[in-house]
């Protein structure tokens, strides 16, 4: 008897809850203060164990602790990150489906193929890490600095072969844009990822590579390779290498990872998430995990991150048009 009674009351509570939720749907703005009330899915658009996955795992756990709701990492790999990104772009903008976005799937993939979204389908929440690119040569190469490299390339167009982690990757697109700016011609050799490109450089099958500094740094430290320049605005702690800027070349680029949400996500949910992400970012545990993975922590809030995405998307779209990779 008692059971039936309690079942009834549970039923009433459920009905009330449903009604409340329906009303809440109309006034979701005012309820964002309670966000989140259920687990959040963080879509990683690459396979488990890859660098996108590794960048997300440390902060997902901490973000869950801060928000008091689990943040579940879901790997949706395929099509260079476009499948997972497209899924988030199509999702409801309620803050419960987020994307561990990166420069390639947001500022390049939408312009090379019909992926069904572009950066305007998503809202920037927070940038978490940023890894500069590195132009690297073998340690016994005759190029001691960028100037020598560029001078040789000017006199011998196409003679220097540079390996990249893949055609249409940010490393490729950035290098092509830079070549055009300063008027040199290098021969592009795309590989299936940064590690094979580095292996080809170590074996002398290419003369240079453009990869994330992460992959080049250990070899620079061991003395097998030499990083001629990194594309960050200033030198970084991870590796003792000069920047492009200090050698007189205006090239700034980086592979960033950050959180993006569907474009329809309301402001206060985005702000609540960004605040929680800032706290996550400041946690020493997360910082040390990233540093071990050679990911360079670099936080940008919704406005700055959004501006960066917009600017880079425009630049990359133009370069893709110039090099004939833009979708027809």
């Amino acid at each position: 008897m008692k059971n039936i009674k309690s079942n009834k009351s549970i039923g009433r509570m459920l009905a009330g809850g449903v009604l409340f939720a329906m009303l809440a749907g109309y006034g979701s703005q005012s309820l964002a203060a309670d966000f989140p009330t259920r687990p959040i899915n963080l879509i990683v658009p690459y396979a488990a164990g890859g660098s996108s996955d590794l960048s997300a795992r440390p902060y997902a756990e901490e973000l869950g602790n801060i928000l008091k709701q689990p943040v579940v990492v879901m790997n949706k790999p395929g099509a260079g990150g476009a499948i997972g990104a497209a899924e988030v772009a199509r999702a409801k903008g309620n803050g419960y489906t987020l994307l561990n976005a990166s420069i390639g799937n947001i500022t390049i993939a939408p312009y090379t193929s019909n992926v069904g979204y572009d950066h305007t389908a998503l809202r920037a929440v927070a940038q978490m890490t940023d890894i500069p690119l590195a132009l690297t040569v073998k340690a016994d190469s005759s190029f001691k600095n960028l100037k020598e490299f560029v001078e040789y390339a000017k006199k011998n167009p196409g003679k220097i072969r540079y390996g990249s982690p893949g055609a249409g990757n940010i490393q490729h697109v950035t290098t092509e844009g830079w070549m055009k700016d300063i008027g040199i011609k290098l021969t592009h050799m795309p590989f299936a990822g940064a590690n094979p490109a580095i292996a080809a450089l170590l074996g002398g099958h290419v003369e240079a590579t453009v990869t994330g500094v992460t992959e080049a740094a250990p070899h620079h430290k061991s003395g097998a390779l030499r990083i001629l320049g990194i594309t960050s605005p200033a030198r970084i702690d991870m590796v003792d290498a000069p920047t492009f800027k200090e050698q007189g070349y205006d090239l700034q680029a980086g592979v960033w990872y950050g959180v993006m949400a569907p474009a329809s996500t309301p402001d206060d949910v985005v702000n609540a998430l960004a605040a929680a992400l800032k706290k996550t970012y400041d946690s020493p545990k997360v910082q040390s995990a990233w540093k071990k993975l050679f990911l360079i922590p670099s936080y940008l809030g919704p406005a700055e991150f959004g501006a960066r995405v917009k600017k880079e998307a425009a630049v990359n779209e133009q370069v893709l048009k110039d090099i004939g990779l833009h979708k027809k």
């Binding site: 396979a47 488990a48 164990g49 890859g50 660098s51 996955d53 590794l54 795992r57 440390p58 990492v73 879901m74 790997n75 949706k76 790999p77 395929g78 099509a79 260079g80 476009a82 499948i83 497209a86 090379t112 193929s113 019909n114 992926v115 069904g116 072969r161 893949g166 055609a167 249409g168 990757n169 490729h172 021969t187 592009h188 050799m189 795309p190 590989f191 299936a192 990822g193 590690n195 094979p196 580095i198 292996a199 080809a200 170590l202 074996g203 002398g204 099958h205 290419v206 250990p218 070899h219 430290k221 061991s222 097998a224 995990a289 071990k292 993975l293 050679f294 990779l325």
Partner: protein, 492 residues
């Protein structure tokens, strides 16, 4: 270096011999065996899934667990290969050739026994190779540029002749079908979508695991469905007298073993190749040099031993470029790279010098994991064949469900699950028309190695076709391919 080596090993041994490490090696091996044995799930999936768990473990525990998964996974793919004609992972595809016919003859237990012992020998030998020859093999792997990769894959193509069955033309046609399927997706050199028909899911290409599961397992399920209700003339007897194969077999096959293991270690050490190519090459080589090549494919131990010793030898081989150069040798070691980095260890040239103790630990763990794998495998070999006692009409639907789930699980993709069904149905039709499945899979694996490397080699040398014979390694490999073909043709 030598002196340091001897000092580090006993210490590492003591570290690994703790209860925690041994327990985690055992857990890892069990996880690896489960993932390896389930069609569609592989050692790569397991290592990738469990790597985040190891983030907060101490280093030796993390390595114990992951190495256990790695070794167990590479071996266990042979279990379904032998029992249900479905390799658990691409690296075990060659095991199907003789493993399944042997099981059909009622010798499943024996086949499994050969598989586990050969896996153990391969894995253990490769661990020692890692210790002794690592720097030498690593520097050799670096010699491999685009022309050399092309030449290795061409040599792999020669294997098609060995696995084509009755009709060579159909084998070659199958390989061509596989290679065409391999061109779907992003163009590896130009970075533009190709044959995707505007479908986003096809941009990543036809994933290997769903293709493998579809072509082998679904095809087999459909073929078996035909036999339901018909009295099966080939009742499988699954009494297992002994799982441990007689030692004298291995003395007889010593050259076969040595060759297969060397192929496994060397191919494993070349980044971007892996167990599939190694096991097919070993199988082919075993068949070519055998006194009775006509018996290959009918269910003889040599076929299983060649394939399994070789694919487990890849484990130690693939760790060589990872530990010495910081360049992963295959997909599993690519995930391991992340697992090591989170522990604050950067694999690369300095690791051997600065942290030899870690390398020594890894070696001991690898040896222990192989022992645990042997024990579990021998025990299991007695009982796994009982799976075959399950009637077809019960077993085959279970296999089909597992396959489709496995196809989904790799990338959490419904599209991949559909690919399993579509490719399985196509595979069934092809088999009915007399096309063997193995060459299709081989084409699908080799195509994406041959094409980008051929184009990369040509682009790098101003489109000069002589690039393929301009270095000693690539010229030698191409010459060797022709020599192999000639001998295979002469022997029929």
């Amino acid at each position: 270096m030598e002196f340091q080596t001897f000092q580090a090993i006993p210490e590492a041994f003591l570290q690994v011999m703790s209860l925690t490490c041994l327990a985690w090696i055992a857990i890892g091996t069990i996880v690896g065996i489960l993932f390896g044995a389930a069609p569609g799930l592989t050692a790569t999936t397991a290592v990738a899934l469990f790597t985040p768990i190891t983030f907060y473990m101490p280093l030796n525990v993390s390595l114990s667990f992951l190495m256990g998964v790695y070794c167990g996974g590479f071996y266990a793919g042979s279990i379904p290969a032998i029992l249900i004609n479905t390799p658990g992972a691409p690296g075990n595809a060659a095991t199907v050739m003789d493993g399944y016919p042997m099981a059909k003859k009622g010798r499943a237990g024996e086949a499994l026994g050969h598989s586990i012992v050969a896996s153990w020998l391969g894995g253990t030998a490769s661990a020692f190779a890692l210790l002794i020859f690592a720097p030498l093999i690593a520097s050799m792997a670096l010699q491999f540029g685009a022309p050399e990769y092309f030449a290795v894959a061409v040599m792999g193509l020669v294997c098609i002749a060995g696995v084509s069955g009755k009709c060579l033309a159909k084998g070659v046609a199958g390989a061509a079908i596989g290679m065409v399927l391999g061109t779907v997706g992003m163009d590896p050199i130009d970075g533009l979508p190709r044959f995707t028909f505007g479908n986003l899911n096809l941009m990543g290409g036809i994933a290997l695991i769903p293709a493998l599961v579809g072509l082998f397992a679904i095809t087999e399920v459909l073929a078996k469905a035909e036999m339901i209700g018909v009295s099966t003339g080939e009742e499988i007897i699954c009494q297992v007298k002994r799982a441990l194969p007689p030692l004298k077999d291995y003395i007889t096959y010593k050259y076969l073993l040595i060759k297969s293991i060397v192929i496994g270690i060397v191919v494993g050490a070349i980044p971007g190749t892996g167990p599939t190519i190694a096991s097919w090459m070993s199988y082919n080589e075993a068949k070519r040099t055998s006194k009775h090549p006509e018996l290959f494919g009918t269910g003889i131990p040599e076929g299983i031993i060649a394939s399994e010793s070789s694919n487990n030898a890849v484990t130690g081989g693939a760790l060589i470029p990872l530990l010495t150069l910081g360049v992963p040798g295959d997909t599993v070691t690519a995930v391991l790279l992340g697992a090591l980095m989170i522990q604050g260890i950067t694999p690369g040239p300095m690791l051997m010098v600065e942290h030899y103790d870690i390398v020594a630990q890894l070696l001991i763990i690898l040896l222990v994991a192989n022992m645990v794998m042997l024990a579990m495998g021998l025990l299991g070999s007695k009982y796994f064949p009982y799976i075959l006692k399950i009637p077809f009409q019960v077993l085959m639907p279970i296999v089909a469900v597992l396959c489709i789930t496995g196809g989904y699980a790799v990338n959490t993709s419904f599209f991949d699950a559909m690919m399993v069904v579509v490719l399985g149905s196509c595979g069934y039709l092809l088999v009915k028309l007399g096309f063997p499945v193995a060459p299709i899979v081989l084409g699908l694996i080799l195509g994406p190695i041959i094409e980008p490397n051929m184009r990369r080699a040509l682009v790098g040398e101003d489109l000069n076709p002589l690039v393929f014979i301009s270095t000693p390694i690539s010229a030698g490999l191409i010459l060797l391919s022709f020599v192999l073909l000639y001998f295979m043709k002469r022997r029929g």
